[in-house]
Structure formats: C-alpha cells, structure tokens
Symmetry: C2
Subunit: 641 residues, 2 copies
Amino acid sequence: MGDSGLRDYLDGPYKAARDQARVGLAEHAALLSEALELPREAYRDRVLEVLRSATADGQTAQGFPKEFGGGGDLGGFIAGFETLAYGDLSLLIKAGVQFGLFAGAILHLGTTRHHEAYLPDALNAHLLGCFAMTETGHGSNVQALRTTATYDAEAGEFIVHTPDVHARKDYIGNAARHGRMAAVFAQLIVGGETHGVHCLLVPIRDADGDAMPGVTIGDCGQKLGLNGVDNGRLTFDHVRVPREALLDRYAQVDADGNYHSEIENPDRRFFTMLGTLVQGRVSVGGAGINASKVALTLAVRYGSQRRQFGAPGAADEALLLDYRMHQRRLLPLLARTYALHFAQAELVGEFVRIFGADEPDTVSEHDRRALEAQAAELKALGTWHATETIQTCREACGGAGYLAENRFATLKADTDVFTTFEGDNTVLLQLVAKGLLTGYRESFGKLDPLGVAKFVTAQAVEIAVEKTAVRQLIERLRDAVPNRADDNDSDAGLRDDTYHDGMLRFREQHMLAGVARRLKRGIDDGIEPFEVFNRCQDHVIAAGRAHVERIVLEAFVTAVQRSPEGPVRETLKLLYDLHALVTIENERAWYIEHGRLSGARSKAITSLVNELAALVRPEALELVEAFGIPEALVDVPMLAH
Amino acid sequence: MGDSGLRDYLDGPYKAARDQARVGLAEHAALLSEALELPREAYRDRVLEVLRSATADGQTAQGFPKEFGGGGDLGGFIAGFETLAYGDLSLLIKAGVQFGLFAGAILHLGTTRHHEAYLPDALNAHLLGCFAMTETGHGSNVQALRTTATYDAEAGEFIVHTPDVHARKDYIGNAARHGRMAAVFAQLIVGGETHGVHCLLVPIRDADGDAMPGVTIGDCGQKLGLNGVDNGRLTFDHVRVPREALLDRYAQVDADGNYHSEIENPDRRFFTMLGTLVQGRVSVGGAGINASKVALTLAVRYGSQRRQFGAPGAADEALLLDYRMHQRRLLPLLARTYALHFAQAELVGEFVRIFGADEPDTVSEHDRRALEAQAAELKALGTWHATETIQTCREACGGAGYLAENRFATLKADTDVFTTFEGDNTVLLQLVAKGLLTGYRESFGKLDPLGVAKFVTAQAVEIAVEKTAVRQLIERLRDAVPNRADDNDSDAGLRDDTYHDGMLRFREQHMLAGVARRLKRGIDDGIEPFEVFNRCQDHVIAAGRAHVERIVLEAFVTAVQRSPEGPVRETLKLLYDLHALVTIENERAWYIEHGRLSGARSKAITSLVNELAALVRPEALELVEAFGIPEALVDVPMLAH
C-alpha cells in the first residue's frame, strides 16, 4: 500500500489547508505539555496567545469573505479547523468560539454595517467575542430562552435584561476573561410584542477589561476539560445598546419601533436564523472524528510495540495487537473512523456548495434543511464515536494510558462535552428522526412533539403509516436485499456492499414506519400527543441513529469506489467490509427479530468480523499514519521505549 | 417505601463502619473543592493530611489484628473503605495504597518480625509505604517481572537491582513524594538459582525525605485523575538490604543461603502469595460500585428537578426524568448498581469468612481460589460499570455535568484507571474463564495459554467437550428454562426469577462448552496452542462475562428474598426485574441465535423493560437516597436552582 497515496486520498481537496494547519500545530506542539502544568488563568492566556499568533497566517479567517480580511475558502477553513483537533483542544474550541460562533453570528445574522464594523477585528482576534445563547435554565430548548431585549423607541435603544438567575447566560466561551463583546440571543420585544429569539451585539467589557455597567460576569471555574477556554456567565441588568446592535439580516426594527421580517412565520424565522449557524455542528463533528484519530494513532502504535504474555518458550512475549481481543477492541473503531471521515468530507462538500454559493438565495430551502439534518446527525455520531474511541484506546494502553504525558487524559476530558454542546446528541437524533418522519421539517410548524404528532396524524400517515403501504414498502426492500434470512448458504455475499446497504436501508425504513405507526395508533386512541411521543422516544432516537448509520455506510462505499485503483482501494475495501459487518453485527438482534438474518448467518458475520480484523491488523500502522498527525503531537513517552 | 428501611438493608452488617466513614467524609467534604484548585504538590500533601487525621479514629486500621493497633474487623474495614468512594477518590486510593497494599503485604507476606517492626507505624501512617510490583515493561504479567533480589550469603544481604528501564517500578503510589519504604516484588536469586517473584521491604527515603543511596525516584507527574496520589518510579542500583527484609511467610532464606518453601511448585507458590493480596481487588470493585452511586444520586436528583421542552401549553416544561429516553439511560444503571451492591456484599462476606477465619489454615485451597475468582470478576464488572455509569450520568446532566463543581469531572477522571489497576479487566475475565474451563485453576500449573490448552486437551475434554456430552448438558439446561423460544405466549413468566436464572445459566454453560470445544478442535488440528487460544480469546472473555452476570443476578435474587417483607421487598423486586430483563435484553442477539428466545418474545422483553423503567421512575429518588451519601458530598451547585 502506498501510504502517501492513502493520506492524499484522505486529505482530499483541502489538502493544502490541512497541511498548513499541521505546520502550525507542530510549531505549537509545546502547548500540549504546557496545558498539563500551567495554572488555569495562565493556560487561558497562553491559548489566547497561540490563537493570536495563528491569525497571522490568515488561516483562521480563511472562511470569511475577502473584503473583511478573509480568504473566501469555506472548505479550507473547515478542514483547517478540524485538523486543529490533532493538537490542544482548548485552542480548537477557543478558535471555534471566536471565529466560528462569534464572527459567524456577525457574518450570518448581521448586515454590511456589522460586517464592516466588527469582522476585521474579530478575525484578527483583537476583538474577542462571545456567543451568548445558552442560559442556565435553557440549553437544548433555545426557543424558550428568557433573556429579553426590549426596544425603547424614545431612546432608540434596546434594553437587554436578565429577569432571573435561570435566564443568566451560562457556559459562555470567552466570557470569563477575554471577551469584549457578546452576540446575545434574547426574546425581542418591540412595542410590547414579543417576536421570538433574535441576536444583538452587546459590549461586555471596556478597554481596561472591566465589566461594562449593568453587566455582571461570572466564571464557570474549573471544568472537566477545555480549561484553556474561559467559560463564564453573563447577567444583564437593563443594559442599553443602540438600535443598530440588532443583527438584522432576517428582521429589522426601524427607528420608530416598527418590527419587520421577510419571514412571517416566527418559527420559520427562528429556524432560519439558527440554520445559518450550522457550521458549528459541522466543525464539532469533524473535530470529534479527528480527536479519535489521535487516540487510535497512539493506541495502534502502542499495541504494535508493547508485549505482554505470549507463547511459553517463545523468544518474545506477544504484541498486544496480535491478540484477537485487542484487534476486536481497536480495529472496528479504526474502520468506523474512516467511515466517519468520508461521511464528514461529504458533509463539508455539501456545506461548501450551499454556503459558498455565489448566489446563496438560489439554494433551495429543502437543501438547506437537508444539510442541517446531515450536520446534526453526523455531529451526534462523530462525537459519541470520539467518547467511545478515546476511552477504549486509553484502556488499551493500560497504566501508560493514564499518565497525562501520553495524551489520553486531555483528549478524553476535552472531547467529553462534544456530545453536549452544539446540540445534545440525544436531542439532535430526535430532531433528525422527526425530520425524516415528515419528509419536510418545515411542515412541522413547531418542532415540539405536539406539532410532530399532529403532522404525522395529518399527513405522514397517508403516505407511510397505512399498514398496507408499510407492508408493501417492506416487501420491496426485502426483495432488494440479496440474502434472505432463510438462505442456507450463510456466508454468501457477506462482503457485497449492496447487501450491507440493503440491510441498513431496510432497518431505517422499517424503524421509521414503525414509529409512525405507533404515533398514529396513540393519537387514534386519544392519548395526549406529548405522551404518545414520549412513549416511543427511544424508538424515535433509534430510528434516527439507523438513518445516520446508513448515510455513513454509503459515504464509505462511495469513497471506496472513487479511490485510486490498486493497493489504496484494496485496503479501503477491506476496512469498509469490517465497518459494514460490525455495524450489522451490532444490530444483529434487531435483524434477527425482524426476520432479516438467520442465527447461522449472524454467527457467520461474527466469525467474518474476526477474520477481517486479523486481515486489517498488518495494515493498522499504515492506516493510522495516513491520518497525517504531526509527529511532534504523537511523540509521547510511552512510545519511546 | 420506608426509605430508612431500604438504607439499613443496603448497609447490612457493617452499617456502623459505613456510618463512621460517612461522618469522616462529611467532616472533610471541603477536600472535594480543594482538589479542584490546589496545585498538584499541595493537593498531594493535603490528601496525606486528611489521611493521617483519619487514622485517629482507628477506622483505617480496623482490618488489622488488634495486637498491632488494629480493630480486628475485616468486614467493617472493607465497608468503611468502600464508603470512602463517596468522597475524594485520591484519599480513597492513598488509603488503599498505604493500608491495603503496603500494610497488607507486610501482614500477609511477612511474619511476626515484620508485623512488630512495621505494622504499628504503617497503620498510624507515620511510615508511608509503597507497593512496588508493576514495572514499566510488565503490568499484567507479574510473573515476568525483571527486578532482581540476589542473595549475598557472605554479607547476609539481598541486592535489589533494576537491570534496565523496562524493569523500573512504575505507577507506584506514595513513591513520588511521601513513601519511606517499599514492598518490592523481585525475582529472588539464591545461590545462582532463581525462585520466582518474592517480596522484600526496601527503604527508599531517609528521615529527611531524600532518596536512599542507590535508589532513584521519579515522578509520574500529572495523571488523568487521582492527582492527590503521588505515583512515581523506582529504580534500584544494587541496593543492599538485610536478609530479614524478605517477607518470609511462604519462603525463607537462611543465613547460609539455603532457600526453603513449604510450597514446592513455584507457580503454586507465586499464586498463593498473590492470592493473599485479593483484598485490593475486593476493595477496588466495591469502590467502583460506590462511585457509581454518587453519579446516580447526582443525575437522578438533577433529572427530577431539571425541566426542558414538554407539552405545548403545559404550565411547566417536562422533567428530564419523565422522558422515556432519560429513564432508559439512567434507571437500568441504577438497577445494576443495586445488583452489584448485593454481589459485592456477598463477596465481602466470603472474604471475611476466609481471611477472618480463626484458623486460616483450615480454609481449603479450593475456597480460596473460588474467592479469588469471585473478586476478579466482580472487580471487572464493578469498575466497567463505574466508567459507563459516570459517563452516562455526566451526559444526562448536560453542560452542568461538565462543570467541575458538580463532581462528574473528578469522578470520571479518578475512577478511569479502576478498570486497569489491580488487574486489567480484560485479563481478569480471561483468568476467570480459564478457571471455569478447568474447574480447578491450580491444575493448570501455569496460567499461560499453553497450559490451559494442554489441560483442556487432557482433561476437560473428557468431561465437557465430547459433542454428545455438550448436547446433553444443553438439553438439560434447555428443559430447566420454563419458557422456550417457540412459546407463543411471549409475555408469560418474564418476571419469574427462575426464568432469568435459567437463561443466564444456559448462556454461561453453553459459552464455556463452546470455548472448550473450539480449544479441543484447534489442538486436534495441530495448531499451535497459543494460536488456538488466541483465536477464541473474544469467546473466552465473553464466557467469563456471562458467568459473572449470572453470579450478580443470583446475588440480587437472594437479596430480594432476604429483604424485609413489604415495601422494601416490593421495590427491590421491581428493580431486580428491571436488571434481569435488561441483562437478557443486552444479549438478546445471542439468545435468539441459540434458539432460546423468539423474535416476538425478545420484543416483549424490550417493551417490558420500558414499562418497568417507568414503574421505577417514581421510586428513583428514594432509591438513590438509600445509598446514604452524606449531603455535604452531593450538595452541588447544579442542584441548588
């Protein structure tokens, strides 16, 4: 296998941006050990220092329009950002807060006035900013935020106010120490009428770094990880900002206090605004995948040199990675990391197509919503994958894995919150499933369970819920799957990608139809819609997950097909087979329960997974080297012996 | 439900010791927040300070004979130690190193001379000590340690030596800062002959705290967690200690250099010595279970007061714990925590019976080995459970769970290594399965795969491997299970504990027989024994796990039966049902594959699990209150709103 061929293929169209990020990371590799020893405030300042030095080469502004000092290359920007996940993750998240969230809110929710006034300074990190959305009392349910921004027509100002401690802005990056300004999400009240959540720019510190009048700043203190980011709390006591502070791309308030928005439906307006911020989810998912690559690189290298026990009388003890159990623990995660990498590359491609369009308005709302769903589902899968992979790799390195110098400590702690921020994974998968249930999420009106249940009753039922229709659908899918549960030849076709895809599609469709049927039955029985929905919540989330698994699998299929013929493709196909069969194996209970797999064939899959893992094993080192993690970042003491 | 009734029942015979530990923990509750802010060295010293103050009430010496300042109450000692896991876990582990490992090695491996000379000072923590077993190159494979202790008959001394960096003692608690003496495990060489691993007491620091001549002390530095424990590295350069330094209960060297041991077989001698140290595993498993209780107390309380989303138009948003998915995530873990608690109580009872026996020599070797296996398997299950439970609880508390003030950060980081130390869980389950395969572990000779494979070929085959015998066994078990896969009445008997037990026994026996058959087939086919064993390593470990699951289930059954009639028993039975059915549900693929479960019945189990979780939900708060965690330890900011 030509390893550089594999690496080039993984790097894809944004190779240059990734390489540029790699150079920067290698240069600042010392940050990894500084992070272990510096007191919290010093670590925060050090991260800011590195962040500022990183703005010099222009990469941090790469995704922004050229007229504001950016590079106009959205894809390169995201690829570079993801690559930062190879290094200190506080730096990654600090960059995400500053350039992705704060500058991103200005770019997407503001208009030229805001762009000109703030983007250049935001992009060179002179103006540090916060993204003040989450409150102590509301994280997932953003629409229910309780901070208010009330327009005072006489003064031509908005009054930003925190009614009580539950409405305090919480967990806000850049707030505790460095932020000068915050993009504050608040219920907009104009002329006594509430128009829902909007975003305003509110200065929070003066030039001396002191809190502005009326602003109380707290510190979230020590966190599980990411202690190089200064998360804090913001409380506003009738803080006045000029009318122009409203980021008014989607809604405007004129001097006389008239509210106007081109999007009349308040829910649609809210989700449109939120939708422009999808880049955060795209980036976090990618970062999770890349953090997994670091853990796997360390664990695969360690397993390739660490010996313990072995055949008596042999000259050496056996290498850990030659043990079946070790292969079983690590190599399916390696395969899945590749799968997610390719799914992420597809997502970024779609993101660039939509957000990088010369005429953004030509992009259909349907495509935007599809992108949002894709970002949500991949964020959930990629970040859960990181949690699982890093944990498994830590355990696979035993006591050495527990020493901070070997990187798992911070990898584990820093990525832990990825499953929570930018949307709690469980909530995200639920949203994805809801979207699938209706086909068009905008038809929901509200994203609450009542809206969904009503919608399903009214429409989805007609297309999917009738028992006959469901049965027909299932029959059709069943026929499309080459191998039936009753086949005797239980090994045949197990490495055929149309078989894998058929299995995953069958599961996805069957689960969605099952959920729809349960929702309809509940409504028909007169049960309260929220209760109906809640009773099948686990089913809904499992359906969402089944969908994402299929998307990821298909991305891997495509990536194998498009890869350079020869050793690269052969290796990728092997890894793909391992991933596909482990995915089916993980859900084999469901497949058997639903008549899609016989017991014999299920056992054959387990055997084949073991065989494939053994075939991947000799390639494992090259497979992790292809991630191209700078040597300075994985040159840890446990690998030096 | 009478909550104090439930708590009393959980506390069991060692209630007084648990309550005493609770009082001490509440008194030192400030250590939890100090741990977040103190620099490493100050934190280490603070932990030592609290440890020393804890010796004052005598509890830390509770498990030792009265003549050396102990209390002679082994069960109370372990119960108290486990309870320490409610608080700062560095304190727990520091106590474990000092009293369990260091003093424990002196007590169990030494003789009166050592007891009199060192135990009193070890028990009042004036003499801080290390347990220097693990080396950089050898953790799991203790028999292959490479530090040497060579007897110099002329001088009447042992020369302790580290031949190279791989033989350096590593990850040693108390080594980096506080330890004065180490119980060093080394290959004993007398008259040119190597007698295997033995333990000697070696002074490592003088009264001023400086390293002794020939001893080089390193610091493991920052760790993923447990940073209040000073783990370090010890290298010995021909360090001389008197002949009396050998802990000589099981083997003696006389002044002329004659080696003598009552146990002639070196392997048996080694495992006998190691077996006396089983208390460490018993304690760590219990600590893992108790750390899970802290996480569950926090998450269940949070889920019972935190609201998010909900039915539109409702006065309040819905409580997290009223969501099905939230119940599904947390309540099976709560049920399993109870199951493990009762299994642990049984283990401690057995431990006390054997180690607290007035005449220890009357305890059969078979019983000792059974205890070792039970300790190993429960350590594995209890510590993996901790990792999973704490992670799930953290995620279930969202962003609040990520703030260190809410305790998950340290709980997660500190317990992470529990799956590794005192025996890597994967290795432990493998040992358990090997023991089961042969019935008598001592028959192995060596615990290496070759020995096992040979043994299986020679003997186990006769009793279990013949196809006919296996089939008969399976048939017998099949008949013992009331509900067959082909039953139509798919709900019947699902809450019958003989059904659960039958299912788990069937799985355990079937897997063990399957492994034995594969081993035999491999050997018969002339495959190299190590390779034969390695090919079914995943199968071996799964069989070990199946065994432990059955043991834990049965402990829960017994605990329900013995509980006070009335509300306590009713609540426990409900929780037990949830645990039993989730355990079967988790392995439903296997049961269906092996014809023990129909698809319909499998789905019925999943539905019933949901129903049971909903029934447990109103009891959840009382169930966590029954753990009796001092309020000062769970009075965290996220619960104050």
